[in-house]
């Protein structure tokens, strides 16, 4: 008896995608991330510890965001064209596998890959922060050896506050959600793209528009006023291109301000909304596609 959706088939497609991407050595991107992080932490040692940790967190979150976005676009762009080129798609869809399951399984594989990457990057990031904190704490303790224990405790507490904050976790979660959004977008583009390069170029183009559109919107509204035409145009742009600036919490983290829970949840919901929309669009295009 054929089932419209089979968890076993879906899991097979997901794990197969993850296995293939893993063996493509896409995780080498993580080595690059580690180099950036460790290199910058050594370079920043000359600053005061407050400045050092501020900049280190800025670099860490920024690098995590860029590497996740790169991974999402590059890993996803090759999935469908590759399956078409090596004819695997025929062998898969000549079985009782609905096309929506195939597309959703591919996306789930990439999201799993991004999840693993973000966990590894977070672990590296936290490890570098911890090691720097330990090193600075040792220097501080040496420098304040003659002072009172209370002064030393206060200095160490300040150091800990400058190093770690609970706000890092929502920021990292939002980076992951942005990566998921970009993967879903890239998958959608690849359903009608004619080549890998086309998919990557268009995705990167959308990435930049997504990051710049908030600034452009503000500028446009200031210069052109808020006429209905301008508003309609901006609404269309916002609908087509997600405002990726919304998925950047690093400024708040660096400034040490808290991220309100409603804002965090709203951002996650917005990201998931875009993922679902792009997934549905990808399925719609792929369903009508002749292979």
């Amino acid at each position: 008896m054929h089932r419209a959706f089979s968890p076993r088939r879906f899991a097979a497609l997901t794990t197969n995608t993850l296995t293939e991407l893993t063996r493509l050595k896409v995780f080498h991107v993580l080595l690059l991330f580690a180099l950036v992080l460790i290199g910058s932490s050594m370079f920043l040692a000359r600053l005061s510890f407050q400045q050092e940790f501020q900049v280190l967190k800025d670099i860490g979150l920024g690098a995590m965001s860029i590497f996740t976005a790169l991974l999402a676009i590059l890993a996803t762009a090759r999935l469908l064209p590759q399956d078409r080129d090596d004819r695997t798609v025929y062998s898969i869809l000549a079985r009782p596998v609905p096309r929506f399951e195939y597309i959703a399984g591919k996306l789930a594989g990439v999201l799993l890959l991004l999840g693993i990457s973000i966990l590894v990057m977070s672990a590296l990031f936290l490890a570098v922060l911890f090691l720097r904190e330990q090193s600075v704490a040792a220097v501080t303790a040496r420098q304040m050896a003659g002072g009172s224990p209370e002064q030393l405790q206060t200095a160490l507490a300040q150091l800990r506050a400058a190093t770690f904050s609970a706000e890092l976790f929502p920021a990292i979660t939002v980076i992951y959600v942005k990566g998921c959004l970009l993967a879903a977008l890239t998958l959608f583009i690849s359903t009608f793209a004619t080549s890998n390069i086309y998919t990557v170029v268009v995705s990167v183009f959308v990435y930049f528009i997504g990051h710049l559109q908030a600034t452009a919107r503000e500028f446009w509204l200031q210069e052109q006023g808020a006429g209905w035409l301008a508003r309609t145009f901006l609404a269309c742009v916002a609908l087509l291109f997600p405002d990726l600036h919304l998925f950047d919490f690093s400024d708040q983290i660096i400034a040490g301000s808290a991220i309100p829970l409603p804002l965090f949840l709203q951002t996650i919901a917005l990201g998931l909304f875009y993922v679902v929309i792009y997934l549905l669009l990808a399925i719609a295009v792929f369903n009508g596609k002749e292979l």
Partner: protein, 281 residues
């Protein structure tokens, strides 16, 4: 009338060419029927519409008009492909997976799991002679090995219909012979095989029925023996025939109103010669 394994009724497929206001007709008014348990060969030169026909049967391409059915179900329904195995032309599969992983993946897609899946993977690798290469990645497989792993994935879930697009393309004669043995074994087990090819010799050996496509049109169709027999000619093969005997046979034929049209030494085929010469001793 028993349910046909494959029934294609008046199928036409046109592909529009973007920006050219033109359409290419890949298949024209094609009607064919593959009975259950048969080996059916779809023949034709490159570009004759064989692969498009197979894709329509498998629901990968939608016909412009007409319909295709698998065991009575519309080929566009996903469920119609439950008992189908497919080997595409020149497959490469995921080259980062090993042979065993590839079969596990396709087995799971067909609903297999647990101990049954493990057994089927082992059996399928054994069937196509790739047990020793089970843990090698497909990137290290030769073209013939890829073709064989492709056949194994098509058979892993014991399908009732196996569709093969150029199954012996790129395979050496010994490998082709092995694939033909597997196909004949499938037939013995009552499994229907529909294959496309432009290699006529091997098809003649194993197919019960063939259809010949040319420019998208079915120009000939029927049972092999009906299509190939020349009703007004008879062959007699003699061993150690002397010229005198041949003269007598000619004269005898003449008195009976017949005529000896050809007289030549019997020959083997190049394939037979190759197989005998390269046979492992």
């Amino acid at each position: 009338m028993a349910e046909a394994a494959v029934a294609v009724n008046a199928v036409t497929k046109r592909f529009p060419i973007p920006f050219h206001r033109r359409v290419v007709t890949a298949v024209r008014q094609l009607t064919l029927r593959v009975e259950a348990g048969q080996i059916y060969g779809l023949l034709g030169p490159n570009g004759s519409g064989k692969s498009t026909t197979l894709k329509i049967i498998l629901g990968l391409v939608e016909p412009t008009s007409g319909e295709a059915k698998i065991f009575g179900r519309d080929a566009r329904e996903v469920a119609s492909r439950e008992a189908v195995g497919f080997l595409p032309e020149s497959p490469y599969f995921h080259k980062y997976l090993t042979g065993a992983e590839t079969l596990r993946f396709f087995g799971k897609l067909s609903g297999l799991g647990g101990a049954k899946l493990r057994t089927k993977v082992d059996e399928s690798l054994e069937l196509v002679g790739l047990s020793d290469a089970r843990d090698r990645r497909l990137s290290g497989y030769s073209k013939g090995m890829l073709q064989r792993i492709g056949l194994a994935q098509a058979l892993i879930h014991d399908p009732q219909l196996v569709v093969l697009d150029e199954p012996t393309a790129g395979v050496d004669p010994a490998g082709s012979r092995d694939i033909h043995s597997i196909l004949l074994d499938l037939k013995r087990r009552g499994i229907t095989v529909l294959l496309s090819s432009h290699l006529l010799g091997p098809v003649q050996e194993i197919c019960d029925r063939v259809g010949i496509l040319a420019e998208g049109t079915l120009v000939r169709e029927g049972m092999i023996e009906d299509l190939l027999v020349l009703e007004d000619r008879t062959e007699v093969v003699l061993r150690n025939a002397t010229p005198e005997l041949m003269q007598k046979i000619g004269a005898l034929a003449e008195t009976a109103g017949a005529e000896v049209l050809e007289e030549h030494k019997s020959r083997t085929t190049l394939e037979r010669l190759f197989l005998d010469a390269t046979k492992k001793r």
